[in-house]
């Protein structure tokens, strides 16, 4: 059946298609793409005499207690449970714990996956997995938490601002943080 062509109808289609096009462009513009080389840092700020520093470490020794939950490859990657020995890194002004973690893992080529503050109802950054060890991998109450100077802060790691000389530990907890630190 041949229909009488009317520009009015066809225009409508074009408008709708344009709206969809713009939505797609906004979506892509809001997403940042990086190659592997761009993501991993080859250089990190050098420590000088008057620079502020924090001590940073990543540790999942607790996961070894329940290693039967993990697969062979994960067990091999974890090794003795120490992912990053306590090391001093330069603290930039206004750095949060998440900023430091992101920079340190990028520099040391450690895998890390997080949920951004725009992706959950708490508006806070959440670390899902480090070095292929994920939340819930060792039971329902297992996951990554952080300690500053041995204490467990109540803030999200994206909101906690660090100061000079702080000691930050990222640890894998089996009991919602009850089994580690103070």
């Amino acid at each position: 059946m041949k229909e009488v062509s009317s520009l009015k109808g066809a225009k409508k289609d074009i408008v709708v298609l344009f709206v969809i096009f713009i939505a797609v462009v906004i979506l892509i513009k809001g997403t940042e793409f990086q190659t592997v080389d761009e993501y991993y840092l080859t250089h990190i700020d050098d420590i000088s005499e008057n620079s502020k520093t924090v001590t940073f470490s990543i540790n999942c020794e607790k996961a070894l207690e329940k290693s039967e939950f993990l697969n062979d490859r994960q067990r091999k990657l974890i090794g003795d449970g120490i992912i990053l020995e306590p090391t001093e890194y330069v603290l930039r002004d206004g750095d949060t714990v998440f900023d430091m973690l992101s920079r340190v893992t990028r520099y040391n080529k450690i895998q890390m996956e997080y949920q951004g503050s725009d992706q959950n109802i708490y508006n806070s950054v959440y670390i899902q997995g480090i070095n292929y060890l994920y939340e819930f991998d060792c039971g329902e109450t297992a996951g990554w938490i952080y300690l500053v100077n041995g204490q467990q802060p109540e803030n999200s790691c994206g909101n906690y601002k660090l100061s000079d000389g702080d000691v930050v530990e990222w640890v894998y907890s089996l009991e919602l943080g009850q089994d580690v630190g103070g």
Partner: protein, 295 residues
């Protein structure tokens, strides 16, 4: 048309066991070999049933496969080989492989369900459920008939409207609105007819104590053979899933394809089961050609 299929004339019980074995394996055994067998067997058998219609459907299935495949790496960032980074989270090769595996499982299930809908028709469903759950049986058979019937009513109504000169706009969205109006009236009609069906069935004494059902199904040797083969595969699948020696893991890196005794026997059993309908139809076709050549 489908009445000419040998597979169509199997006993309903045997067919149900067969489809259970096929669908369980394709969904729960995470193994590329099993999923490929399920997908290939399903596609070949469905294209035997649908012939021409399958050619246009294959585009839909391909797009669906790609969509499911692409979605997984966007949300799952685990894996040891990052390809690029999106908002600071990696998009990895392992996530793509896992996505392909999930897409194959979902697609295989859709395709096997499509062939099940053609092979296990409403008469077989009423036979299976009618004795023990008459209400459920009637509901399922009506639900399965719902979509084809709605399509038929829809095209009839649409053609009537077109002849009246109502559907003239060039705009896709105008036509969509128009068709939605037709859909509303057609679904209202189908609701009405379902009430009529249930009343007329009750008037005939369906599901009452002592009422008998007409059926043409007899358990033959071939039915028992099909049921037994399917059951053996089903049991092998359950053992494979529980033992965990057949499945592979994708994160953090893809494990090697298992080639132990249990895995190989699962591949062979599942392969036989998945290609069984195709093999049956092929032998029947050859037999028919052979007999014709003798006349």
């Amino acid at each position: 048309m489908r009445i000419h299929f040998r597979f169509y004339s199997f006993h309903p019980f045997a067919l149900v066991v067969y489809y259970m074995a096929i669908l369980f394996g394709s969904m729960f055994i995470v193994n590329p070999v099993v999923r490929l067998e399920a997908l290939l067997g399903g596609v070949i058998f469905l294209s035997l049933i649908r012939k021409r219609r399958m050619v246009s459907d294959i585009w839909f299935y391909l797009i669906l496969f790609i969509l499911i495949w692409i979605t997984n790496p966007l949300f799952s960032h685990n894996g040891e080989t990052p390809l690029f980074f999106m908002n600071g989270n990696p998009v990895t090769l392992e996530a793509f492989k896992c996505g392909a595996s999930i897409a194959a499982a979902i697609l295989a299930s859709i395709i096997w369900f499509a062939s099940a809908a053609e092979i296990i028709d409403d008469e077989k469903i009423v036979y299976l459920a009618g004795r023990f759950f008459p209400r459920l049986g009637l509901t399922i058979s009506m639900a399965l008939r719902f979509v084809p019937r709605l399509k038929k009513d829809f095209s009839a109504c649409e053609n009537a409207q077109k002849t009246a000169g109502l559907l003239t706009s060039d705009s896709f969205f105008d036509r969509l609105k128009f068709k939605l109006g037709i859909l509303m009236s057609v679904s209202a009609k189908s609701v009405e007819s379902s009430v009529i069906i249930s009343r007329s069935m009750r008037a005939r004494g369906y599901g009452m104590k002592g009422s008998t059902a007409y059926s043409r199904f007899f358990l033959r040797v071939s039915d028992v053979v099909l049921a037994v083969v399917s059951l053996i595969t089903f049991v092998a699948e359950i053992i494979a899933v529980i033992s965990g020696k057949v499945g592979i893991e994708f994160y953090p890196s893809v494990t090697e394809l298992p080639v132990n005794f249990m895995a190989v026997s699962t591949y062979i059993l599942y392969g036989i089961t998945a290609f069984l309908p195709t093999i049956i139809e092929a032998t029947e076709y050859l037999k028919w050609k052979y007999y014709i050549s003798k006349i």
